[in-house]
């Protein structure tokens, strides 16, 4: 241990000397490390795969979706694929100045379609999934489908789940909202959970003053806001985002710009109202 004692007595001057003037073999190691780091950065730094240029050259944006998920995407009576996601895809295509081509694929095959280049972009009520982030890149979130606490627009005293003590809360029996309600009831003294056969009936109970609040999923909650009900807070998050191939960096930027534009201009809110509140 004597060398340790000596080391501590060695002094800052010597220490700095060896930091600033390292011996030759240390210099070689440092230079080698720097070369290795530079090489790694060169090979690993994300490079674009040219998808955006290909879309512009072809004149079409191929969007993959599973048209079995209303109101995000479904097939209408005329056999057309319509929905909130289709409108968003249309906006992206318009910003790119190309035509929109919808590719209807089963949900399980959406990521594979991106990887196999059958689709340039997937917009399909797609929840963010960290396990896919080595292969695909997600855009910014555009909708939260998590569980929401909803109350009457006139009940201003309810500001959060902590106000549920002693209250009656309506939920759809057996649903995720029911699970959240059971969890909340364990924490809030005197909270009563009332179960209904559907989310719509749970919301109806709030409107009819049979319950103080309801817990429903994000889509049902947004749809209810125009009917005298108020979103208090999200109890859980389930964010939807679009996805591109991990190497389609430029396309990702474009889609993000479109989503930002739709948000900031209020168009996203209008689209949501169109598909969720009005149930087109």
């Amino acid at each position: 241990m004597s060398f340790v004692v000596k080391y501590y007595g060695w002094g800052l001057r010597h220490f700095m000397h060896y930091i600033l003037h390292p011996p030759r073999h240390i210099r070689i190691i440092i230079v080698s490390l720097l070369v290795a780091i530079a090489g790694t950065i060169f090979f690993l730094f994300p490079r674009d795969d040219g998808t955006l240029a290909e879309i512009r050259q072809r004149g079409t944006l191929r969007v993959g979706l599973d048209a079995s998920f209303p109101p995000f995407e479904t097939i209408n009576e005329q056999g057309e694929i319509v929905g909130l996601d289709v409108d968003i895809a249309q906006a992206v295509a318009a910003d790119l100045g190309v035509e929109l081509e919808l590719v209807n694929i089963g949900f399980d095959g959406l990521y594979d379609a991106l990887l196999a280049r059958r689709a340039n972009l997937v917009i399909s009520g797609l929840p963010y999934d960290p396990r896919w982030t080595q292969d695909v890149a997600y855009t910014r979130n555009y909708f939260n489908a998590g569980q929401v606490l909803v109350t009457s627009a006139t009940k201003l005293t309810i500001e959060g789940p902590e106000d549920m003590a002693g209250r009656i809360v309506a939920v759809e029996w057996g649903s995720q909202a029911d699970m959240e309600g059971r969890r909340l009831a364990k924490e809030m003294a005197g909270m009563t959970l009332q179960r209904y056969p559907s989310a719509a009936e749970a919301l109806e109970a709030v409107l009819n003053d049979q319950a103080d609040a309801a817990i429903v999923d994000g889509v049902s909650a947004v749809a209810a806001t125009g009917r005298g009900l108020r979103l208090v807070t999200y109890l859980t998050d389930e964010w939807y985002a679009a996805a591109v191939h991990i190497d389609s960096r430029e396309l990702l930027d474009v889609v993000n710009q479109t989503l930002t534009r739709l948000d900031e201009s209020g168009e996203m809110a209008k689209m949501q109202a169109k598909w969720l509140e009005n149930g087109e």
């Binding site: 004597s2 060398f3 000596k6 080391y7 060695w10 010597h14 000397h17 060896y18 390292p22 011996p23 073999h25 240390i26 190691i29 079995s68 998920f69 209303p70 109101p71 995000f72 479904t74 949900f107 399980d108 009520g125 929840p127 963010y128 999934d129 396990r131 309506a170 759809e172 029996w173 057996g174 649903s175 029911d178 699970m179 059971r182 009332q194 179960r195 209904y196 056969p197 559907s198 989310a199 009936e201 109970a205 049979q210 999923d217 889509v219 049902s220």
Partner: protein
């Protein structure tokens, strides 16, 4: 200085490096007149760096080599239920942590389901030809037995060494079929006294499950026959061999993706499958229909199983039992084939009751008890328990049913 290192020590390589370093260091230190000579100190730093690196490597090797903490099997349990045909398909194949395996099986038992179906992939058990790793299957079967559960083992998934490079894991060349049959025999030799049945393959009427080769009922029957013969030649020839459950599908004739399950089964029976199985596994999904919706050849519903049963009878196998090894309903809020959560509860209980009344049905193991991680799709809405072991309301309702208690649907649910 003498250094002793066990042959089996996982620290062997980094340990040797460390020892070499120490000995050389001691030698150099003894030769130094001034340990802090500036010319020496550069190497001094480098050596400390090496020490730290060696320790770090040793820590990594040790960490990787330490087996998962063993979990006590606990006392022998019994699944108490009013309906002994209740079952679930568990998803423990990719569950690494032993406590999660045990917790899952405990919760199955506490729900009142005495049967489970579990998948035991060939590729995981025999990663190299003739080299078997039974550690995970031992874990699952030991815990299942201790919880008093009957295990139906589904076998499939071709290892890389038994198929061409870049082929699908369900791709099995005819010349490799005997290798699969050997795996079936090895599995039965090990677990024959602790399992209720083995299922040979899964949904072979889908191209996806047949290695994207042309769908081939006669080829599958050949595989079934080879497997059956190997079980007959095993230490436990009485273990029931089940014909692989077919995917219920209305695929049009000539489809390269799937073959109608009724057509496929008839071709299997024509090829002699009835003599090479002790029972038939079946998948019974209800989609948006109630459990008692009448069966029709052009409709997928829970009672489609009765059409399979009739086909067995018509072909001279009236005593051959059917095991429902997947099935059930999905309660995703907006998936088009889903039902409302309340309906899912109602239909599931209805299905268990229906199967109890079918003398030719051994069990209904519904899909799926719990996933090891969220699928983040509608598939999550098939489960009874979340990946975090939170029971869903359907779990409590099935538990009430299995205990003969009153359902919430008739107590405190507000019907309009």
């Amino acid at each position: 200085m003498q250094w002793q290192i066990s042959k089996n020590s996982t620290t062997k390589v980094p340990g040797l490096i460390f020892i070499c370093y120490l000995e050389r260091y001691n030698l150099e230190m003894s030769n130094q007149t001034n340990a802090f000579n500036p010319n020496f100190s550069g190497a001094f730093w480098l050596r400390w760096l090496l020490i730290v690196l060696c320790l770090f490597l040793a820590a990594i090797v040790l960490r990787a080599a330490v087996p998962p903490r063993p979990i006590e099997l606990g006392p022998q349990q019994t699944a108490l239920t009013t309906n002994p045909k209740m079952g679930v398909h568990t998803r423990l194949t990719d569950e690494v942590e032993p406590w999660k395996v045990k917790r899952t099986l405990e919760m199955v038992r506490q729900m009142g389901a005495p049967w489970i179906v579990e998948y035991f992939p060939w590729a995981y058990r025999e990663p190299l030809p003739g080299f078997f790793d039974w550690s995970h299957s031992d874990l699952v079967i030991n815990h299942a037995n201790r919880q008093g559960l009957k295990v139906i083992a589904r076998l499939g998934f071709v290892p890389e060494w038994a198929r061409p490079t870049d082929s699908a894991s369900s791709f099995l060349l005819p010349e490799r079929r005997p290798d699969f049959a050997d795996y079936v025999q090895a599995f039965v030799n090990r677990y024959g006294d602790r399992i209720a049945a083995v299922i040979i393959w899964n949904e072979p009427n889908l191209a996806l499950e047949w290695g994207f080769q042309p769908i081939d009922p006669e080829g599958y029957t050949e595989l079934l026959k080879l497997s059956y013969q190997q079980v007959q030649a095993s230490n436990y020839p009485n273990v029931p061999v089940l014909g692989g459950a077919l995917a219920p599908t209305l695929a049009p004739p000539g489809s390269d993706q799937a073959m109608n399950d009724l057509i496929y089964l008839q071709r299997m029976l024509d090829a002699g499958a009835g003599e090479a199985m002790d029972g038939l596994a079946a998948h019974a999904y209800g989609w948006s229909f109630p459990a008692d919706d009448p069966p029709q050849p052009d409709l997928i519903n829970f009672r489609r199983t009765e059409l399979l049963r009739q086909m067995l009878v018509d072909n001279g196998y009236p005593h051959m039992p059917i095991y429902i090894t997947e099935g059930g309903w999905n309660d995703h809020p907006r998936w088009t084939r889903a039902v409302k959560p309340a309906q899912r509860i109602e239909y599931t209980i209805q299905a268990y009751e229906l199967v109890e009344s079918w003398p030719w049905a051994k069990t209904a193991a519904l899909w799926a008890f719990r996933y090891p991680w969220p699928a983040r799709t509608y598939l999550d809405y098939f489960t009874f328990v979340t990946p975090e072991f939170d029971p869903k309301p359907i779990y409590f309702e099935i538990q009430r049913y299995s205990r003969g208690e009153v359902s919430e649907s008739s107590s405190d649910v507000n019907h309009k």
